[in-house]
């Protein structure tokens, strides 16, 4: 696998750029935190420190340390790669179906969407035959169903199929 990866592409985003992006994102989150804390008040109120007191100073520390991190990144030499593009494609190819899976759960239930996710994964990544993929994709959710709904009495999101079957 790794030999193949080296042949197809040796480029990718530099570690430095990604790290700068991450640091800026963290600073942005902290700024949102400061804004939110200021809205509820971060000073001294009737009951002592106000609700925004703690998050305000926490956000300030985040920003201070992020600025130091940012300076460290800028100073460091940016030779190394964060990951190669084809590696990132690999990661994206997991994130995308999982995102669809996550968004589908409220509508078609967790069991059906899990079956689809497992089948899709096995066919695309594992290059399994449809029969094998279908078998695993059915068995795992069915076992899960028995384990959670029947034995441990934990209800999971269900969709039209489960309604049709009477659950």
């Amino acid at each position: 696998m790794s030999d193949h990866a080296q042949e197809t592409g040796g480029t990718g985003p530099s570690h430095r750029n990604v790290e700068i992006g991450v640091t800026l994102a963290i600073i942005l989150i902290a700024l949102i935190g400061i804004y939110g804390s200021m809205k509820v008040g971060f000073g001294w109120g009737a009951e002592g420190p106000q609700a925004g007191f703690f998050p305000f100073y926490v956000s300030v520390i985040v920003i201070i340390s992020s600025v130091i991190n940012l300076m460290n990144v800028v100073v460091a030499d940016g030779g190394s790669l964060f990951a190669r593009w084809n590696q990132l494609r690999q990661v994206g190819a997991v994130v995308l179906p999982t995102a669809i899976y996550v968004l589908a759960i409220p509508y078609i239930g967790i069991y059906v969407s899990s079956a689809l996710l497992i089948a899709a994964f096995m066919i695309w990544f594992g290059r399994y035959g449809v029969a094998m993929a279908a078998a695993v994709a059915v068995v795992v959710p069915v076992l899960t169903f028995f384990m959670f709904e029947i034995w441990f009495l934990v209800p999971l999101p269900k969709g039209p199929l489960e309604n049709f079957l009477g659950y």
């Binding site: 509820v40 340390s65 130091i68 460290n72 996710l117 795992v140 209800p155």
Partner: protein
């Protein structure tokens, strides 16, 4: 003391109930599986399986969950030795000598040594917990808000000082965790904060979702990126090899003892099992007569990290049950479990929930014995799990992560948050941001903030309250030392180097 021993035996009686014994075995087996699978570890394994315990009594629940933890600790060694893939970060050091041993056809010997030393390390830590935890708890009962805050302060400062990651990244990650922990309802004033009118944020960010996302999904993404395929040596282990290795092991008692002590020390401070295993390996390499041969398949190189990792992993529960401050992410998840079952973690547990605490301690003894037997007899089975291709395992792990995330609050939005945390975890991990302090900060944020605000309230806003008596000043000062430890160490090294540097000149 005598009373504690009585309580402990009562605990054994609780654990020995058939239902609890079954849970123990189930927990260990699930734990080993979790430890063997890439992408699942102690923390997110326990987090995902937490909902299964909602309908149980707290004592049964903690027995099962803590056994998952012991199982995960054992499981990490299997993949390190047979596949050269550390299933858990704390078994990285085990691969250095364990995998060469397996390649030389001594897999059975390496596995026996690993499991036995894990057991010894855990046993040592449990005995320590039995003796020390009640004392710490009764001592901690006298703590007021400033003392409680100082304990949190010490815990979090140790993270910064002892972490291998850049200190400011640790601080950023930790404070981000505190920030995320404050979203939602403010415990003190009952005000909503940082929700920006979004109903999804009313309950804030649950750390269980964060654990499942950061560690579970993030880890799968990392594995996908590496595109790994498993190639391992066959696992054969039989009674003869086991007995032979056991005959050999007592020779390393000094090494074991030292590794136990390192492990316990690192486990109580929130540095955790991973640095403990490396430190123990490093020291063993320096001290041992055959130190230069380390890395080529020395049994000592397996004994040292495994003993320390287990001692650390186990003793991480000491501050969790006696102070309510978890020493590791997994201990944090167990603490989250306590809250869900309606127990208040902290020193009061020892007086108000005797059954629970002593049941837990007794299950540590029993669980490790049962665990040792299970892993010794079932290694080939567990190793077979790793031969299932990743393209089958990965979606199944995803499904279980999603189920685990959903069941925390029966909320589908949490699954979305899990994925967001997963992608964030992947990127942060690649940029060397440590994730454990972030998770602990989300868990402890509420309590640390409450203690902090109550302390300030009593002093009318003066920080002198944190240096108002001997106890709190000592803990705060220790915290500051831990925080600036890297600087102190560097200064000390420079001092010594300076002296040495002067000598040749004279």
């Amino acid at each position: 003391m005598l009373e504690d021993i009585g309580n402990l035996f009562h605990g054994f009686a609780v654990v020995a109930q058939p239902f609890n014994l079954v849970l123990m075995v189930v927990g260990i087996v699930l734990g080993v599986i979790v430890g063997v699978l890439p992408g699942l570890g102690g923390a997110n394994g326990v987090a995902i399986l937490l909902p299964l315990t909602f309908s149980m009594s707290p004592t049964s629940a903690i027995i099962m969950l803590s056994c998952i933890y012991w199982g995960a600790l054992f499981g990490g060694a299997i993949t390190s030795i047979l596949f050269n893939i550390p299933g858990e970060p704390w078994s990285v050091a085990t691969t250095f000598d364990g995998y060469p041993m397996a390649q030389q056809g001594r897999a059975g010997e390496a596995l026996t040594a690993a499991f036995t030393s894990s057991f010894v390390g855990a046993l040592f830590a449990v005995i320590m917990i039995t003796l020390v935890a009640p004392l710490v708890a009764s001592f901690a009962l006298r703590f007021g808000p400033p003392e409680i805050f100082s304990v949190y302060f010490l815990a979090f400062c140790s993270f910064v000082g002892l972490s291998k990651e850049p200190p400011f990244k640790t601080v950023a990650s930790m404070m981000l965790g505190f920030g995320l922990g404050t979203v939602g309802l403010d415990q003190v004033t009952g005000q909503l904060r940082l929700t920006f009118g979004l109903p999804e944020l009313l309950n804030g960010f649950d750390f269980l979702i964060a654990v499942i996302g950061l560690f579970g999904i993030g880890e799968i993404l990392l594995t996908m990126e590496e595109g790994l395929s498993f190639r391992g040596t066959a696992a054969k282990i039989n009674l003869k090899v086991v007995l032979q290795t056991w005959k050999e092991l007592p020779r390393y008692w000094l090494l074991s003892l030292r590794s136990c002590l390192i492990g316990c020390w690192m486990g109580i401070s929130p540095a955790g099992a991973t640095p403990a295993s490396f430190m123990s390996y490093g020291i063993a390499k320096r001290i041992s007569k055959s130190g230069h041969k380390f890395g080529t398949g020395q049994i000592e190189g397996v004994v040292a990290p495994e003993t320390a990792a287990h001692a650390a992993g186990t003793s991480a529960l000491l501050p969790m049950i006696s102070l309510g401050v978890p020493g590791s992410p997994t201990a944090a998840v167990l603490l989250g479990g306590l809250l869900i079952w309606g127990l208040q973690p902290g020193p009061l547990l020892f007086t108000e929930q005797k059954d629970f605490v002593w049941g837990l301690i007794a299950s540590m003894y029993m669980g490790n014995i049962v665990g040792l037997l299970i892993v010794l007899t079932c290694v080939p089975l567990f190793a077979a799990i790793l031969r299932i291709p990743f393209s089958v395992i990965a979606p199944i792990i995803m499904v279980f992560c999603a189920i685990g995330a959903y069941t925390v609050h029966n909320n589908a939005f949490d699954i979305v948050m899990m994925l967001v945390f997963g992608v964030a975890g992947y990127v942060m991990k690649k940029c060397n941001y440590p994730l454990a302090p972030m998770v602990l900060a989300i868990v402890l944020g509420d309590k640390a903030e409450e203690a902090f605000r109550q302390s300030l309230l009593s002093s009318q806003g003066g920080f002198s309250v944190f240096w108002s008596n001997g106890l709190v000043s000592t803990i705060m000062t220790l915290g500051l030392i831990a925080l600036f430890w890297p600087l102190l160490q560097a200064a000390w090294a420079r001092l010594r180097l300076g002296k040495k540097g002067l000598r040749p000149a004279q």
